[in-house]
Amino acid sequence: GIQVEQSPPDLILQEGANSTLRCNFSDSVNNLQWFHQNPWGQLINLFYIPSGTKQNGRLSATTVATERYSLLYISSSQTTDSGVYFCAVPTYSWSGTYKYIFGTGTRLKVLA
């Protein structure tokens, strides 16, 4: 099955710093989602980004599907950005299966 790897596994930033998180996947996909899991465990969808670039405030994401990777950029980080960031890609079959496989996550801690 498809493999999804994220890097770095852990990241500590000072408030105000910028960062780039990476997601590599082993097979062709037709969409990709980025999620933020806050310290209370809630998973929030950040981007639905099969290709190209999207921006939402201080966050932006780029997916290069032909090269099988996606990047999540966080600019001017804030303590509320702390948590775990996951990417997820779908696998699908002729029988109707359409399930998302999650990466291993990047654990981000932003220090005040």
Binding site: N45, Y48, A88
Partner: protein
């Protein structure tokens, strides 16, 4: 409208007992997923419903786990003869048209299951 709702938020049970976890998806969402997340890990796929039928249950770890979605809306994940290794956060997600573009997953807050 309301998001994905999961109940209970926490469940503590004794080894060997039976538990049911409930998920109420976003109204109109035909696709429903169950995932399990252990400490320090990413969500692990369990089962996917499209409408009332389980389109893919390949992630269920063994026959102690079963899920239903009888009317194509609310789903119940059932675990028989619970074991300590079943302790995890069980997450439910729904989606409107999973194969279509711009149809993101929406997750509930999860049920934290602890088996003592």
């Amino acid at each position: 409208g309301a998001g994905v709702s999961q109940t209970p938020s926490n469940k503590v049970t004794e080894k060997g007992k039976y538990v049911e976890l409930r998920c109420d998806p976003i109204s109109g969402h035909t696709a429903l997923y169950w995932y399990r997340q252990s400490l320090g890990q990413g969500p692990e796929f369990l089962i996917y419903f499209q409408g009332t039928g389980a389109a893919d249950d390949s992630g269920l770890p063994n026959d102690r786990f079963f899920a239903v979605r009888p009317e194509g809306s609310v789903s119940t994940l059932k675990i028989q003869r619970t074991e300590r290794g079943d302790s995890a956060v069980y997450l439910c997600a729904s989606s409107s048209r999973p194969r279509d573009s711009n149809s993101p997953l929406h997750f509930g807050n999860g049920t934290r299951l602890t088996v003592t």
